[in-house]
Symmetry: C3
Subunit: 227 residues, 3 copies
Amino acid sequence: MKENKNVAIYEPVEIGKDPILEDFVILGKRPVKSRNKRMKLIIGDFPVIRSGTIIYAGNVIGDNFQTGDNARIRENNRIGNNVSVGSGSIIERDCEIMDNVKIHSGCFIPEYTIIKENAWIGPGVIMTNVLHPPCPAFKKHAPLLGKKCCHGPIIEKNAVVGAGAVILPGIVIGENSLVGAGSIVTKDVPSDRLVAGNPARVSKKIEEVECPLGFYKRGEVYSWRKK
Amino acid sequence: MKENKNVAIYEPVEIGKDPILEDFVILGKRPVKSRNKRMKLIIGDFPVIRSGTIIYAGNVIGDNFQTGDNARIRENNRIGNNVSVGSGSIIERDCEIMDNVKIHSGCFIPEYTIIKENAWIGPGVIMTNVLHPPCPAFKKHAPLLGKKCCHGPIIEKNAVVGAGAVILPGIVIGENSLVGAGSIVTKDVPSDRLVAGNPARVSKKIEEVECPLGFYKRGEVYSWRKK
Amino acid sequence: MKENKNVAIYEPVEIGKDPILEDFVILGKRPVKSRNKRMKLIIGDFPVIRSGTIIYAGNVIGDNFQTGDNARIRENNRIGNNVSVGSGSIIERDCEIMDNVKIHSGCFIPEYTIIKENAWIGPGVIMTNVLHPPCPAFKKHAPLLGKKCCHGPIIEKNAVVGAGAVILPGIVIGENSLVGAGSIVTKDVPSDRLVAGNPARVSKKIEEVECPLGFYKRGEVYSWRKK
């Protein structure tokens, strides 16, 4: 283990092969109110945990995990292989983040969010999980409530969420769809669409997106993501 | 005092009963240019100061104060009881934050902002305090200027500001009002209204907001906040 | 050198006169994949590096540099004199930031961004550098691609970007122009204009901007910046 200055590790922490832990990293921190002293942090092989990253106990994380500096991941998330969480991004608890997901810098991902394989989340994206915050029904009935009220968004496979977008609670971003930078997404986005605006509206089909420099033909810009 | 690894405390710091100070916390830091070596940091009973939080000298903070990881609070703020400041949020100096205010993660609260009792500020909210930055009149005349020019917003009692909203300088968000996620608020918001959009416009009265799951009847969604 | 608790310095680091290095600062960190063990960090005279700031190796930074708490600056940037990078802001690699630029708190500045003399970037501004992220052509052809495809924005001299604005890839913000808070800028902005909205549209000429308190006459609000 390559471990830099001043790393704070709270056992039980289980890490795979060849981890890199940079300065001021905190691993396995328990939530203040947790009574479960055996909450374990599990991280797979070859993780790169950059400076100042905080990963709470109770997470199960796959191989090749990467964080940017000052990333923060609360408890009880399930995180797949080849996932990266960028600098300063916050993942709250009880999320499911599947293989090959990239979350860029400065994002906020609330409780109960689901981000499926190969999705790409741009810098400064903010997701939400309560329609009428701070709804007291959420605290009282949280386990019973449907995804449309108090659960996080669902980002389907291969979807791309542009920089600075805000996603409302329970919204589904369809497979292969693209949310334009700065969009405020208040309605579900179907598959294979480009949406943009405040509120976000369908602008075109994803196969109509063109590369201005001609690296891809019309209809091919995102076709490589479906393979 | 439960104090973790590597906490940096710059006296004089006065903390009440049973504080929890997590790793890499900094308390009582003086501003670089400050000549006042006796600026004191006062925090009430039962604070939970999470990892990496920085609280400057000159703040007076009530009981049951909580911060998320990497919160940062500059000098000379007055902060009431039962206030929380979420992960990565920044409170600049000379703000007034009253009892029971919750500021979520990744917010920016500039100098001279006033947030009144029971207000709830969502993740990624950005407030501003200068209409024409970087106005040199601000530096020259700051103590003389009215709230409409160079002061922070005023968030009235029970107001809720949705995720990712941007609030322009000196804007007043009325009592019990709700600012929709992603709104850009360029005009004062009256009491008891829902506003949304860029620029934000009044969308409906707060008593017309409905709970899609029926936990509250029409008109009751936010009525519990007025009690 | 005034150096606080727990500073991590990775040589070679070259700093000028009278630096202030606060707690938990990291200087000269090498990127994980870098093979160049002699990448040097150069900082001029009188820097103030606030708590938790991370500055990678390979940067060349001028005099009077200031960072807010938890600022993070990746490798190979050229940064002029009298520049400040605010709390929590992220500068990726290979940017050029010229003299007297002020970048406020919580900003994201991606690779290949150019910010020219005297520009002012408000809190929470997010810039981008790839039109169709995560475009594989970017990785393959990055050095060959023109500014309109995969390069960062160009912020011209004296321009002001308001709080929470999102700037699309390769966009040019003209000299002396003002981007209103919360704008989503999808087209180049000419010189001497005010733009606002989602998408941002030209609202007026900069000389038509008025100070509501009369500190400046009509047309004079930003005239002091041109001197």
